[in-house]
């Protein structure tokens, strides 16, 4: 069939860096384990299977550096295997407990089988699932993007932090995936004029913004269905509002269908505490992933989950999605010279975690758009640029994909206190990086660790959690812990009394980015490499 336009699926995989070697189990590490089981492994399973079938699909997958760091971390890999074993054991117990129950026994079996399959897949790749993604990128099925190093909300960070955040991310991506990323997921799709210059310097050519950014573009409203070239070989792509609504809208979106699995009914809460306690990470009740009910309706009454019914809905929803894209593209292609591109960026964790059938839905979409029977073809921003250029010239203003398109989620009375501390620390980091242009030994170690602590404190997740009111204590503790460690380390550098034991402890606890180079904070880094750094320098002295 003649292709009239394109659909680009962009998934953003991200979790905050949560790793607690100080305890054998830690509740918040389960965010990562659950996402592996429910999202990343099902995606990988699907993508590898479709490739083996010879389906010519393509999509963009942004892997945030904290997620990539956790996926390649031996401690977390080991803990994940133990977690899987525990959950498989729970699955076996559930099969026994539900034996003879026509509704629940098949579900218990389904969960246990899935867990065993994903455990096998995980081990088949040597617990390095990033290697599978690397392979899929090499075969042309995935375009892998990065994000900022610790998912910092860049418009609220001082500009001196932009380069370290972006360069560290690019370096880590190259190391893990063996290829430089073509694009970047700006955390929270938060753009601020000037960021594109840094992206250009780091070889990044595209990113995504909310559609509102295009509507407020200069010199005129930009077309949502082609990229906008901001200069320096960097183009922005706009999120398509229609496909966002179809998936995200809590009332009309697909995931709310009554036949899909109910997220909020889990045996971790429904069954006697003593029975589930051995499978929890802490003393409190929590999700186990064993959920036996479908959404059923808007009330509290829930009926047993029927996987066949859900699969049927997946088929009708993916048919509906494809139909709508074909109609949308048919309309758009009459309005513009180049083939229209409908770009749908989603948080990857929506699919599988919140929307259990999400990976199945995405598989159905890939099949429908890659089978050669649709007037809409799959593409990626990279491929679109290569085939159709970087788009017309234009400018964008500050924008995000948060509420109302700006920053109120990340600065409001619940979290505004963090910024004075973050900004002060950023300045101190710059001052020290410029004072020690070629540090060696423990000073270098200390400066690198200070940079790690600062970056971890900058994660947009902490402000987000404080705003949403979920695990606020954890987000607060993490923000403070990183900042306090930062000041402890930087003070020791200034005082010439680096405590190697304390430094080693910080490195052991927060080992993200082993190759991080603090000199990225030096605004004249390149020049300084060959400068006479033994001359007196201007050093900022911070008094606390």
């Amino acid at each position: 069939m003649k292709v009239k336009g394109y659909w680009a699926l962009v998934l953003h995989g991200h979790l905050p860096y949560v790793r607690h070697p100080e305890l054998p189990e830690y509740l918040e590490e389960r965010w990562f384990f659950e996402a592996l089981t429910e999202c990343y492994l099902p995606f990988t399973d699907t993508w590898l299977r479709l490739r083996a079938e010879g389906l010519s699909y393509r999509l963009t997958f942004s892997v945030s550096p904290p997620l990539a760091a956790m996926l390649t971390d031996a401690l977390l890999q080991d803990r994940y295997l133990r977690y899987l074993d525990k959950m498989i054991l729970l699955g076996k117990e559930e099969e026994q407990r539900t034996e003879g129950d026509d509704d629940f026994a098949p579900l218990a079996k389904m969960y246990r089988e899935k867990l065993e399959r994903f455990r096998q897949l995980y081990q088949d790749w040597g617990c390095q699932i990033t290697e599978a993604w690397r392979s899929l990128a090499q075969s042309g099925h995935l375009d892998l993007w990065t994000s900022s190093a610790t998912h910092a909300f860049l418009p609220y960070a001082s500009e001196a932090s932009w380069r370290p955040q972006i360069r560290t991310a690019v370096e880590q991506h190259k190391k893990i995936f063996g290829i430089a990323p073509h694009g970047i997921w700006l955390p929270e799709c938060a753009y601020q004029p000037g960021i594109e210059r840094l992206l250009s310097q780091e070889g990044l050519k595209c990113f995504v913004v909310d559609h509102g950014a295009f509507q407020r573009a200069y010199p005129e409203e930009a077309n949502l269905y082609e990229p906008l070239h901001l200069g320096g070989g960097v183009s922005a792509f706009a999120r398509d509002p229609e496909t966002s609504r179809q998936v995200w809208d809590k009332n009309s979106g697909y995931p709310g269908d009554y036949d899909y699995r109910e997220f909020y009914r889990d045996i971790g809460y429904d069954l006697p505490y003593d029975y589930v306690a051995p499978f929890l990470a802490g003393p409190d009740r929590a999700d186990t992933g064993f959920k036996y009910y479908r959404i059923t309706g808007s009330g509290d009454h829930k009926e047993p989950y029927k996987p066949d019914w859900a699969t049927s809905k997946i088929n009708s929803h993916s048919d509906n999605f494809r139909f709508n894209r074909e109609v949308q593209i048919e309309f758009l292609q009459e309005q513009q010279n180049k083939p229209p591109l409908v770009l749908s960026p989603y948080d990857a964790e929506l699919f599988g975690h919140w929307w259990y059938e999400g990976p199945e839905f995405l598989e159905a979409l890939l099949r429908r758009f890659a089978d050669g029977q649709s007037s809409v073809s799959l593409t990626t921003p990279r491929r679109y640029i290569e085939e159709h250029g970087q788009g017309p010239e234009g400018r964008l203003h500050f924008s995000t994909w948060g509420e109302e398109g700006f920053g109120k989620v990340w600065v409001n009375p619940t979290n505004d206190w963090i910024y004075r501390h973050l900004h002060q620390a950023e300045k101190e980091m710059v001052a020290l990086a410029e004072a020690y242009p070629q540090a060696q030994g423990d000073v270098k170690r200390a400066l690198n660790q200070a940079a790690r602590e600062l970056m971890l404190a900058q994660s947009s997740d902490w402000a987000f959690i404080m705003y949403t009111g979920t695990t606020v204590d954890y987000a607060t503790v993490r923000t403070k812990e990183h900042l306090e460690l930062f000041w402890k380390i930087t003070r020791s550098i200034r005082e010439g009394s680096i405590n190697v034991i304390e430094l080693s402890k910080a490195e052991w606890k927060h080992p993200i980015f082993p190759d991080l180079d603090y000199r990225y904070y030096n605004r004249t880094y390149k020049e300084n490499i060959s400068s006479h750094s033994d001359k007196p320098r201007q050093v900022a002295l911070t008094l606390i």
């Binding site: 005129e220 203003h397 500050f398 109120k408 505004d416 060696q440 306090e484 550098i493 033994d534 201007q538």
Partner: protein
Amino acid sequence: MGGLPRSYGQDCLGVLVQDLFHIYVYWELTEETRQKALSLRNLNVDSPCQIRVQQFVEENDSMEWQKVYQAELPFGADHWYLSGLVPAMIYRIQIGIQDGESFQELLTSEQVHMPPGISGHRRSWGRAHSIVGGVAPIEVTVPVEESTESYSSSDLVAEPAVAERSASYFEG
């Protein structure tokens, strides 16, 4: 953990644009700076600080900052939310002291650009944040670097220039 400080003992001012109409401002004004300003103008030590918002205005080939808002700050205030700002306008924020008709600014932000509500606004391309003050550079002797060589012998072998530099620090 010792906890984060309430203040850093340094004058600073941060401005973050929240949305089309709102700005978040935080600051630290040291007592030293405040007292110095009061003393210079012979003002009462209890004189309150004020926050002033100025808008950049271009009219008939002239450009100037015009005051659009000013308020007295309660004692101890260190942050403020400003509302009612205009999309696509350029603002700057000041913390200072009112002395009769005169406003003595003590902290001034760089210009902050509000995003526009509609397309076509060229002048709001700029930053939606301003962070000024804070860590202030002073000249000091770097005391640490020379002691590092004892932990980095491999680096010294690999990079003679560093060894020479480090040695000179020891001698100094």
